[in-house]
Each structure stands twice: as structure tokens, then as C-alpha cells.
């Protein structure tokens, strides 16, 4: 989907989220702890949010579709994938180019 393509190629770390989703909030907190400030795109504040959500589901992010994390333009996955990656030690290497926070 175009909007997803645009957002994720222009920004290193993108988290598609919903303002009511506290799990999305948790993932955001983790990224900040790792020195990264992701672009958080709230689907419920986007008029095209419903389209984006459909596209995300098509790409494999379902139950729930958010948070959907993209790093370097590529889909990493939802909370499960992010957590697994981090515990395996694979998240920080991916984030290294985008670490901006002290």
C-alpha cells in the first residue's frame, strides 16, 4: 500500500498504532529504552486508517493488527516478533543505524 510504503521508506523505525492500544505504547517505550524514537502513526487519527489496517492484515499483522513495526522499510512484525527478536539479541543490531536518543 502506498501510504505504508511512503511512511516506512522515509522513516527508519515506524510503528503503526492506535491511540487506545496500550500494547503499542509498551512497544514504543521499549524502543525509547533502546535509544530509538520511532514514528508512531495512529490509525484512529488517520482518515485512511481503515485502509492501512486492511493492508497490514494482508501483510500478516493480525490479532491484533497493531502495533505493526517497520524497521528500515521492512516489516518486522507485531509485539511477538519484536519481543522474540530482542531476546534473541537481533533487535539492537537492526536499530543501530536509527539510534538517536542518548
Amino acid at each position: 500500500m502506498d501510504k505504508i510504503q511512503t511512511l516506512t521508506s522515509e522513516n527508519g523505525v515506524v510503528v503503526f498504532s492506535k491511540s487506545t492500544c496500550c500494547l503499542c505504547y509498551a512497544v514504543n517505550i521499549l524502543f525509547q529504552e533502546l535509544g530509538v524514537e520511532p514514528l508512531v502513526h495512529e490509525l484512529d487519527h488517520d482518515p485512511d486508517g481503515w485502509e492501512i489496517e486492511k493492508a497490514l492484515v494482508n501483510q500478516g499483522c493480525n490479532s491484533p493488527p497493531v502495533p505493526a513495526v517497520f524497521i528500515g522499510g521492512k516489516l518486522v512484525g507485531s509485539t511477538n516478533e519484536v519481543m522474540s527478536l530482542h531476546l534473541r539479541g537481533g533487535l539492537i543490531p537492526l536499530l543501530r543505524p536509527y539510534q538517536t536518543l542518548a
Binding site: 496500550c22 509498551a26 512497544v27 529504552e33 534473541r88
Partner: protein, 348 residues
Amino acid sequence: MGIYDPLHHINMWDDTYGCDISPNTGPSLISQVDTRQANKTEYNSQESLGPSSDNQEAKTMSEKLQRRLAQNREAARKSRLRKKAYVQQLETGRLKLAQLEQELERARQQRVYDGLLTTSHGLLSTNVNSGIVSFEIAYDMWVAEQHKKDNELKEMLQSQVSEVELRMLVDSGLNHYYELFQMKANAARSDVFYLMHGLWRTPIERFFQWLGGPRPSELLYMLMPQLEPLTDAQLVSVSTLKHSCRQAEDALSIGMEKLQQTLAQGITIDITGVGSYNSQMTLAMERLEGIENFLNQADHLRQQVLQQMSRILTAHQAAKGLVALGEYFQRLRALNSLWSARFREPTS
């Protein structure tokens, strides 16, 4: 003297057989004979009277004897009735016992869900949730199975077993823990707060609880000394795992706090009167649905920690780790039993 009259003797026997037509003639007859023996002794001690008063004496003695015999028969009859009543009581009691045993088994099957809530909340809930009931039954079986697996692993560690075999046992042990997480996920759909409070666990286990189970980083701290000696590379890997696990836990904890905050704020009375009761409730319901996700993420973290440790360690170390883990939970539960029994009077 009259009593030794053979004719008189036969009369006594006639009376006996005349009135006692019952299957219990034997014992009552014996008792009557005994009584008669006593009577004989009694009469023996009496002074023998002169021949002139023999008939008179015989008549009096006969009357007394008749009376005594009648009393005996009556006593025997009452005794038989009492015995019958007693036997009937026993039969009824036996049926009742069988019934109670059946009920007890059924109640045990259904688990003491209400009892658990009484322990933790001091309230007796009449809501018996079938999803939770089946979880509790399954959990009891899971614990028993876990004991077996831990013992099996312990035995294997002490014997000469190949690396491959040991690794297979370790994988089997890990899968058993993953099964528990799946059971919990299913039960969470029935009652998320039951899972949140860890109500199937003992109070001491709940003392250390984090999001419906043990804190994974704490388990790592506990296991580390049991696994020595570790190579330098392994030490680094475990240390990294501990660190990232802790970060993930903190993120989830903060997210959970945010959920609580927004939920509480969301349902408070809006003094501006703008928010409506219905919309507030709807939104609150949505937020509550988020709790299940956090519980699932917590278990996912536990699973990932187990998986990672299994990759970092050798089969032998992993087996030792699983045994130590099982032992740790068993001891927590044993401590709980000791603690809850500490005010009970000794039975010695």
C-alpha cells in the same frame, strides 16, 4: 425340689416352645436356659419345705417361673426388635455414605473454585465459569505430569544417556511448559482477571507474581548458580538475555500501568457533562479487552526466555536447568503448605 420334677421340667420346655416361634429361638433359648440356670441356683438356695407344703410351694414357684419366663420372652422379643432397627440404621447409613462419596468425587472434579476465591478475596462467588473449571482440572493434571517429567529428567542425568536423548527430553520438558501457556491463553478468554491474579497458584507463588506468572528475569537469576560452570561465551549470552528480558518486562509493565490509568480516568464522572455514560463504558470495555494481550505477551516472554536458554546451554546444562526450575516451583508450593499449617496444633 419341685423344680427337679421331670414333669414340671417338661412343662417349662413346653412353654418355651409354645410361645417362641422365631428363628432366633437358639439364642433366646440359651438366654432363657441361662435365666433358668440362675433360677435353679436361686431356688436351690431356698430352704426345702416340708412335704405338706410341697404342692403350695410348687404352685407359687410355678407362678413365679411363669412370670419369669414371660419376662424373658418379652426381653428377647424387644432385643430382636432393637437388633432389627439397628441393622436397618446401618443399611441406611451405608447408602448415605455411598451417596456422599459420589458427591465428594463430583465436587473434587469440579474443583473448589469458590474456595479459591474465598482464599484470595474473602468473598464467595457463585459464578462457576466452566472455562476456568476445566482449566483448573487441566492444571492439576499438568502439575502431576510435570513432577513425572522432572523425576524422569533427574534419573536421566544420573545415568549414561546420550546427548541426543537428553536433548529430546529437554525439548519435551520445554514443550510441556509451552502447553501450560496455551492453556492459560485459552482460559484468559473466559476470565481475564482470574488469569491476571494467578488464582490457580498458591499465595506464596502469587507473592512473586508478574502479569499472571513468575517474572522471567527472576527465574534467570535463580537458575544461574545451578548451571555453573558456564563458558565465557555462555555467560555473556545469558547476561544479555537477562538484560533484554528485563527491558521487555519493564516495557510491558509500563504499558499495563498506562492501561490502568486510562481505564480509571475513562470511567470517572465527567464534570463538564460532555462525555456520556454509554460511550465511556464502551471505551472502557475496549480497554479491558487489552488486558488479555498483555497476559499473552507476558507468557510469550516466558516462552522466549526458556527457548533462548535452551539454545545457549548444552543438553546437560539445559536438563539441569529444567530440573532446578521444577524443584523451585515445588519448593514454593511446599513452603506455602508449611506456612498455612503453622498455627495448627500438633497432632502428637
